[in-house]
């Protein structure tokens, strides 16, 4: 009798687990966003991936350098304040360095006593000033296509994972779709096909549809990286390295609390699992008062 009872319970639990995962996973197919005409970008080994991922400070600082030297002349970063650059979990520049970055910019300073607008030097509390005053100006200066703001770009781009990867991603925690795409895109200005008409725009291997308004901006040696004692750059000054570094930096701008989030996630999960374990035994003990759990319908 007890054996049959147990059998029925096991069956119900299996059903429960199967049903739960079927429901929670099967539907999420639409989550992956289509990138028609794009080529699947290669996977990278990001330091911030996985449950214990953290940013590489040196990489974020190099990425900031690339952003500041190359991207910032056309793209904004309007959600990021200078002070963020000194905050924990980011590039962690010193306060003095951040004040110096800010002081390079003039920002809106309100009005003087005559009511005329004045400008003042930016402070760490200010947001990163956009290179153009407004959308129209940005579009006019860039052939009709305004360069998008990069603050959350790492979360605003993705590529379709396809079956069965969108299921396995839930377990492997792969959600670096955006950064893999961005890094590939920045390296994607390869030789276009012979029949490509350059008047259409620029050709990029990874861009959906391949024709993109943004020209190639990264070249080997374009940004000078910090040097070691022998005056050699600590990492190669190549397009690949630039692309990865600036992409990592953009992941941080998009998700500045990523490290805190993952660290807290581990604590929460450990807590919930231990608590669930205790509850399981508490439940068994309580149900023992009525001869143990009797689930389901399987008759003896």
């Amino acid at each position: 009798m007890r054996d049959q009872d147990k059998g029925s319970r096991t069956m119900n639990k299996t059903l429960f687990i199967a049903g739960f995962f079927a429901a929670s996973l099967a539907f999420s197919g639409g989550a992956a966003n289509a990138a028609p005409g794009g080529v699947v970008p290669p996977r990278n080994d990001w330091s911030f991936a996985g449950p214990f991922g953290t940013f590489d400070r040196a990489q974020l600082q190099r990425g900031f350098l690339v952003f500041k030297t190359v991207c910032a002349s056309c793209h904004g970063l309007e959600k990021v304040s200078f002070r963020n650059l000194a905050e924990e979990g980011g590039p962690e520049y010193t306060e003095a360095q951040v004040e110096a970055f800010a002081a390079e910019f003039l920002v809106d300073g309100g009005y003087d006593e005559f009511g005329d607008p004045v400008q003042r030097a930016a402070t760490p509390a200010d947001f990163w000033p956009s290179p153009f005053a407004n959308y129209q100006q940005a579009a006019a200066a860039n052939g009709g296509k305004a360069p998008p703001d990069l603050s959350v770009m790492a979360k605003a781009r993705t590529y379709e994972r396809g079956f069965p990867w969108w299921i396995t991603d839930v377990f492997t925690q792969y959600n670096e779709n955006g950064v893999d795409y961005l890094s590939a895109f920045l390296q994607g200005y390869v030789e276009p096909p012979e029949d490509f008409d350059p008047a259409l725009g620029n050709w990029n291997l990874y861009y959906p549809g391949h024709i993109v308004a943004m020209p190639n901006v990264l070249f080997d040696g374009a940004v000078e990286y910090p040097r070691d004692a022998q005056e050699r750059p600590i990492v190669p000054e190549t397009v690949e390295q630039y692309a990865k570094d600036v992409t990592a930096f953009l992941m941080w701008t998009a998700e500045p609390h990523l490290e805190a989030r993952k660290a807290m996630g581990f604590q929460v999960l450990v807590f919930l699992l231990v608590f669930a374990g205790l509850l399981y035994f508490t439940k068994k003990r309580i149900w023992a008062r009525v001869g143990g759990e009797t689930e389901g319908h399987a008759a003896g």
Partner: protein
């Protein structure tokens, strides 16, 4: 029912004073302490409690998010980023709220399919079931309007597409749409009213959920056998037996929820919603949130816009008529061999419709969507009425106890199962 709830007897003077004026402790006691539940409920029956927890999580996170959010087309996107960056634990609250919506639907769908399989909609639980359908509709409206609030590309275009559905209504369609918008297109007035309603509707859900619990406590829980409680042996008091089981299940569910909130917070969302709304550019592929995909597939299955909209609303409305469409006298699918097969076929139909909803509406996908839409409605309109007449159900057990413990023990001599009917000392 010999296992009628033990009536609450107030012990302290203060409790007596309150109880004689407002018998609220007694109400809670009879509903959540002494309330007799069938002793054979499986984990599928814990989703009601899980849903209650999810509703509370959504309400509480939503109320605090509203303290920092700005419902204005120019500031909404930025204020969400402000929450993510500057507000203490803002990222946690927002990710809980956004993923909470998805997990609310995961739980509600499991809850609904459990009801479908075990015939929980049948007499005397029709009103309970219809209240559930109303909750589902309210949840859909709430979730849809909530998704508009970040004012990203998917917010804007989702709002545009869904509100335009109403334009197919003859004569008054255009007027209704402009009343929904508060203008001639989706814009700031739309965002403002959606925010207002997104704040209001959850409290309506809470209200209907209370009616739902009330309606549950008249006939009591259904159970995996579908056979009602016949003696005290068949039941246990809600507390502590179901409270501890529910709590265990809730914590397991929250662990999966936490996995998404902390490690895959944007997995269930759309990358396009991190692009600020732009009325001049439509995203390449407008897709609703996953929980709307089966209905979206039904909508697009038909070439005629009006008919598509009618079918989509009918796909939910048909649920409300199920208590009368299903002609079988047997509740539990466990004793209905043909029903059981059709039920799982129906589950697969819903999953396939969900997948089709995520595909572009072209070529083979449209044909498949039409086939599965027919199958979806066939389950309710053909299979349920006919099956009750044609199917020969398996023999039902005489009681719950007999089903789970076997005949010998049910008529049993020395088993202490009768203790179930006695009020248990609290743990």
């Amino acid at each position: 029912m010999s296992s009628h709830p033990t009536t609450y007897v107030p012990k302290s003077a203060a409790a007596k004073w309150l109880e004689s004026r407002l018998p609220i402790i007694g109400l809670v006691h009879s509903s959540f302490v002494a309330f007799p539940v069938p002793r054979n409920l499986t984990y599928f029956w814990t989703f009601g409690a899980i849903l209650m927890v999810m509703l509370i999580i959504q309400l509480v996170t939503g109320i605090v998010l509203a303290m920092h959010y700005t419902a204005h087309a120019d500031y909404a996107f930025t204020s969400v980023e402000h929450i993510m960056r500057n507000v203490e634990y803002g990222w946690l609250l927002r990710y809980m709220h956004a993923n909470g919506a998805s997990f609310f639907f995961i739980a509600v769908y499991i809850h609904i399919f459990r009801g479908l399989f075990y015939g929980s909609y049948k007499a005397p639980r029709e009103v309970l079931w219809i209240l559930g359908v109303i909750i589902l509709l309210l949840m859909m409206a709430t979730a849809f309007m909530g998704y508009v609030l970040p004012w990203g590309q998917m917010s804007f275009w989702g709002a545009t597409v869904i509100t335009n559905l109403f334009s197919v209504i003859p004569l008054v369609g255009d007027t209704i749409v402009s009343f929904l918008w508060g203008g001639y297109s989706v814009g700031n007035p739309t965002l403002n009213r959606f925010f207002s309603l997104h704040y209001l509707l959850p409290f309506m859900i809470l209200g209907v959920a209370m009616l739902h619990v009330w309606a549950l406590h008249v006939p009591g829980n259904n159970n995996p056998t579908g056979v009602p409680i016949k003696s005290g042996k068949d039941a246990v008091p809600f507390h502590p037996y179901m409270t501890v089981k529910d709590t265990f299940s809730i914590v397991c569910f929250l662990a999966v929820f936490a996995w998404f909130v902390f490690y895959l917070p944007n997995y269930l969302g759309h990358a396009d919603n991190y692009v600020p709304a732009n009325p001049a550019v439509t995203p390449a592929h407008i897709v609703p949130e996953w929980y709307f995909l089966p209905f979206y597939a039904i909508l697009r299955a038909v070439p005629d816009a009006l008919f598509g909209v009618i079918l989509m609303f009918a796909s939910i409305a048909v649920l409300a008529f199920l208590p009368w469409l299903d002609t079988s006298k047997v509740r539990s699918g466990s004793y209905r061999p043909i029903f059981r097969v059709l039920f799982w076929a129906f589950v697969v139909t819903c999953l396939v419709l969900g997948w089709l909803g995520s595909r572009p509406a072209e070529g083979i996908y449209v044909i498949l969507a039409q086939i599965f839409t027919v199958l979806y409605f066939a389950y309710f309109l053909i299979a349920m009425p006919l099956l009750g007449l044609l199917e020969k159900p398996l023999p039902l057990p005489n009681s719950i106890t007999e089903a789970v413990l076997g005949k010998k023990q049910a008529s049993g001599s020395g088993m202490p199962v009768g203790a179930a009917a006695e009020p248990q000392s609290k743990g």
